[in-house]
């Protein structure tokens, strides 16, 4: 066998110097995204994705979550539309990442939504023990919001639209997982990897941005 020393193992030392040598740790970049994901999961009473907690008060908690984000987006979308008109007369107005001047409200709503989506999908792909119904309500609420955003100036920004399109597709797939075929989750998580949706979602959340209650100054 071996003991806990490896300093006398030159082969290991050589491999350590040559094999997948880590670059400097991108501490701040990772923390910004972790912080945003955590805040997105906490700013409203999201249902934790565990069976026990879901059985506690599913209707109340899910309803609160849906109500919260619906109100958030309704306000954001409303302000966005009010600001830019019907879109046909302001075709160059872009969303939060575009060249135009986005409304603060719509920008905040978009960031909030993307952060929630990132948090949800992180849990979806890692919590393999959760039942499908656990994800269904949240996926539906996120899908509704995604479609709302696609119809705003945010949805006219090409990069953001691409992310929202893929998010819409993945959420629609999650909703359609048959109860008797949980293995279909693997296909969806494969799709997440193929489309690189998680890194694209996180990249779309501006660094240093932390979701906060809508309308906060």
């Amino acid at each position: 066998m071996t003991d806990d020393t490896n300093t006398e193992n030159p082969m290991a030392r050589l491999i350590g110097e040559e094999y997948h040598v880590p670059p400097p740790v991108p501490r701040e970049e990772m923390w910004t995204r972790i912080r945003a994901t955590l805040d997105a999961g906490r700013s409203t009473p999201v249902v934790p994705l565990t069976r026990a907690r879901l059985r506690t008060r599913p209707g109340v908690v899910i309803a609160a979550w849906i109500t919260g984000i619906a109100a958030l987006l309704a306000l954001g979308v409303g302000i966005g539309r009010f600001t830019v008109g019907d879109g046909s007369r302001a075709p160059t107005t872009a969303g939060p990442t575009g060249t135009g001047t986005p409304t603060m409200a719509l920008s905040a709503a978009t960031v909030e939504h993307l952060s929630r989506a990132a948090s949800f999908l992180t849990t979806f792909r890692s919590d393999t023990e959760a039942e499908e119904e656990t994800f269904d309500a949240q996926a539906r609420a996120l899908l509704t919001t995604t479609r709302l955003l696609l119809d705003t100036p945010a949805g006219r920004d090409p990069r953001l639209r691409s992310v929202l399109d893929d998010l819409e597709f993945i959420l629609a797939q999650i909703i359609q997982i048959p109860a008797d075929r949980p293995e279909d989750r693997d296909l969806i998580t494969d799709g997440l990897e193929t489309r690189q949706l998680m890194p694209r979602l996180r990249t779309a959340i501006p660094p240093g941005t932390s979701p906060r209650p809508f309308g906060a100054s």
Partner: protein
């Protein structure tokens, strides 16, 4: 080797503050462990973007599940076990995707000759380590490259210390065979 640097605040206190959603404590927990987690993840995946993504997933899951942490192991070891789980799951999905892509490529490249093996040392090492069975590779990288102890490895992988030692021994033996012609690189 300890998983954590000297701690101004003990682990239990820090965990309690994080559970109370103290942002400074959350950041302190992250700062204490992120370097070692990221380094291990990078050693396992060899890609900066994926290493960052998996490290982020590790900490998000860690914070979300901190209430499940019972303090039976060091917090760093607990986070390491999450990181390994995240990497394994992601690697398996990637492997499935790549095997499907390779099936398509194989149909297109049928009849072509295999590329000439690259004699560069780094490529040889990458290939030799990459060909280790997943468990051997993880134990080898954790112990011989990143300096984890067998106790830490056993806890993180939920195996016996003897299993960790045996896997390391087999990994080293397999590497010696695979890299026998490079022995001059490390035998003085």
């Amino acid at each position: 080797m300890s998983l954590s640097p000297p701690e101004p605040v003990d682990q239990d206190t820090l965990v309690s503050r994080v559970l109370a959603r103290d942002p400074a404590a959350e950041r302190e927990l992250y700062d204490r462990h992120v370097d070692r987690i990221y380094r291990l993840v990078y050693r396992m995946v060899g890609d900066a973007d994926r290493a960052a993504e998996y490290t982020q997933d590790t900490f998000v899951r860690g914070f979300e599940r901190l209430r499940e942490f019972r303090g039976e192991a060091a917090l760093g070891t607990w986070l390491t076990s999450i990181a390994i789980s995240v990497v394994y799951n992601a690697q398996r999905k990637l492997k499935r995707i790549r095997s499907r892509e390779q099936d398509l490529e194989a149909a297109e490249t049928l009849g072509r000759e295999d590329p000439v093996p690259n004699p560069i040392l780094r490529d040889r090492l990458n290939a030799a380590v990459g060909e280790l069975p997943e468990g051997y590779r993880t134990v080898f990288l954790m112990h011989d490259v990143e300096g984890f102890t067998h106790r830490e490895i056993a806890t993180a992988l939920q195996v016996q210390e003897g299993t960790s030692k045996a896997q390391l021994s087999r990994a080293r033996a397999q590497l010696r065979v695979a890299l026998a012609d490079l022995a001059g690189e490390w035998v003085t």
